[in-house]
Amino acid sequence: MKPPPFEYHAPASLDEACALLATLENAKLLAGGQSLMAMLNLRFLYPDHLIDINRIPSLCEITVHPDRLAIGAMVRQRALEVDPNVARTAPIFGETLPLIGHRQTRNRGTIGGSLCQLDPAGELPLLALLHDATVRTVAAGERRRTIPIAQFIGGFMSPTIEPDELVVGVDFPRWPDGHGYAFREHARRHGDFALASAACLLSLGDDGRIMKVAIGVGGIGSVPVRLSGAEAILAGSPGDPVTVEQASRQCADLEALSDVHGHAAYRRSVATALVRRAIAAALDRAAR
């Protein structure tokens, strides 16, 4: 089908975008459009105004700070896939990005759009949660907020941003050089929404034991989650197979949805295997 009628606005600055968002009724922001445009074509949405933020250059920057990677909301997924600074400081992006949709959608899709869409199977929300990222927003009147990702994820496809707030960027705290990383997911076809996904970051101490670890699971429940039980089991361990197995079994307690693509029990079972594989791969890659 075709999109319903709407008024189109293409602000050239953040201030202008915020002013429009604060004053227009029933307005939607258009980022990469790889979900919104499909929803408009299917007439799931009837916005009166579309505010296109594709012409605001300041939202497209990637900056490496000593402690964090700052990614503008309108950075394209394809840019994250190939950016050498991202590859150097957060190599898990290079492994994850090719799993998101297809080349044609990554050329348009943005990180800010993915986070606000907050699809349960979305890879970027899971990566943000894995890193304890912080979402930066702005609203008219210079009202700025920084929202820890755990708070930003309010529920099924529901970020905790106000209707007049605009996500301007995401800060990913950097992990130590030589950290291990892995992203694993299972989808029926390349580029499909994953039935389950698992991601792991870890770094080893001088004694070869796991010093710091983060594990996240996506695609199986209404929101991506951290597997804090598994993190507690692994922390301080040498990452031996028995401990890894025990950690991956923490997936048994996760909330999981049943649908035509898979039952809850099946999704938990897939997640368990993916977590085990992600931890094993991250251990292999971690500098000893």
Partner: protein, 167 residues
């Protein structure tokens, strides 16, 4: 809603039209500019038939508004062959290797493959399959398409710099 005048470069020609903001780039190309080579299958970003290049990058033209293409450089299947009508080596390879049957997915396949070959002149079969994973074909079983793109890569590589269609 308020129509907007846009100017875009389509296959090297500046085109101007007045469009409703809700018009997709795909419908603009087909209905306003008469370029019906770009096909629409699903209109919700799944099938890849409507793939065109915008500023050199492949996009689904059903998931982009025409007004967003203001000042952009758009390449469609109509611009792939030379001005004389001589087919591009990629098109020749599709013909040679049975890379199409009904032809519905072909424009999207060609545009996707052009982006791949521009970046990676010597793709493996796996590279090709990943590249076209966002383009659905219901006729060929993909084998002929993969063979066509690999054949075109070899052909283009062999004659690099010696043919009039080379950049």
């Amino acid at each position: 809603m308020t129509p907007v005048e846009i100017t875009l470069d389509v296959n090297g020609v500046a085109r101007t039209c007045v469009v409703e903001p809700r018009l997709t780039l795909a419908d603009c190309l087909r209905h306003e500019l008469g370029l019906t080579g770009t096909h629409l299958g699903c209109e919700n970003g799944v099938c890849g038939a409507c793939t065109v290049l915008v500023d050199g990058a492949s996009v689904r033209s059903c998931l982009m508004l025409a007004v967003q293409a203001q000042s952009a450089r758009v390449q469609t299947v109509e611009g792939v062959a030379g001005a004389s009508g001589r087919l591009h080596p990629l098109q020749e390879a599709f013909r040679r290797n049975h890379g199409l049957q009904c032809g519905y997915c072909t424009p999207g396949m060609l545009m996707t493959a052009l982006e791949l070959l521009a970046e990676n002149p010597t793709p493996t079969e796996a590279d090709v399959r990943v590249a076209i994973s966002g383009n659905l074909c219901r006729c060929t079983g993909y084998q002929g398409i993969v063979a066509s793109i690999l054949d075109a890569a070899a052909e283009l590589h062999e004659h690099m710099g010696t043919r009039p269609w080379d950049p």
